[in-house]
């Protein structure tokens, strides 16, 4: 399940609703991304997330399907916010649930790495010197590239 929204979310309520009644689930992994107050040594007062409405939903749906193809997931949720956010505010939530912990943890890590290089979002940061569009990080490409291998081989 994927959602792109301006509104905040409640991680406990989301996990509860996602997994309620499914007693085949043994492990639930999650990743929550939040706004930091600093980037590259500069104080951040806020940021605005712009996205490509329509394509974002398509890409997130495709990313979720890829995770489900690679790991035996009982449930999966991606929520990504857009609009203006301040330090400490939630940006993105990924939740994966599986019978066993390994699949849930790996799929969660995969989803956030993959999302970072595939979901069409752009960050405009507010610093004391003005607004600045964030440059893509080479580290994100490297993190995503790790998953080009299939999980059987990646798990060793």
């Amino acid at each position: 399940m994927i959602r792109v929204q301006r509104e905040d979310f409640d991680i406990g309520a989301e996990i509860g609703a996602l997994c309620a009644g499914n007693h085949r689930i043994g492990g639930i992994a999650s990743f929550l991304g939040v706004v930091r107050d600093e980037a590259g040594g500069e104080a951040i007062e806020g940021m605005t997330l712009e996205h490509y409405s329509g394509m974002t939903e398509k890409e997130l749906t495709r990313i979720e399907a890829e995770a489900r193809r690679r790991w035996p997931l009982e449930a999966c949720l991606i929520i990504h916010r857009y609009g203006r956010l301040e330090p400490g505010e939630r940006i993105v939530l990924v939740v994966t649930a599986s019978g066993h912990r390994g699949a849930a943890l790996e799929a969660c890590h995969f989803l956030i790495d993959w999302l970072k290089t595939k979901a069409p979002f752009w960050k405009l940061e507010e610093t004391r010197r003005g607004e600045k569009w964030v440059d893509a990080r080479g580290a994100d490409d490297a993190a995503a590239a790790r998953w080009v291998r299939e999980p059987d081989k990646a798990a060793e």
Binding site: L49, Y52, V92, L115, F121, K123, W133
Partner: protein
């Protein structure tokens, strides 16, 4: 053809969306980018370094040799920085 611009490309070009009618010989993404860039002004500025420009045609990421046609939705944007 419907053009959509994001992030600093939008800021430099000065519009978020527009309808354009490129000449018939504009057959690929690369042709389209060259044609837009040649308009100069905000386009010239936004497209000065094509190594930091990404393109989606009908909401799918594509490379420079991908075809473009009259009814397409073409989006130009920098490398993504979400999550």
């Amino acid at each position: 053809m419907r053009m959509i611009y994001f992030a600093w490309l939008r800021a430099k070009i000065g519009v978020a969306e527009e309808r354009i009618e490129p000449p018939a010989e504009i057959a690929t993404v690369a042709d389209l980018l060259d044609w837009l860039k040649a308009k100069g002004g905000g386009y010239g500025d936004a497209l000065a370094d094509l190594s930091v420009v990404r393109v989606a045609v009908n909401q799918e990421y594509v490379k420079a040799d991908h075809p473009v046609a009259a009814g397409d939705e073409v989006a130009l944007f920098p490398p993504i920085t979400g999550g």
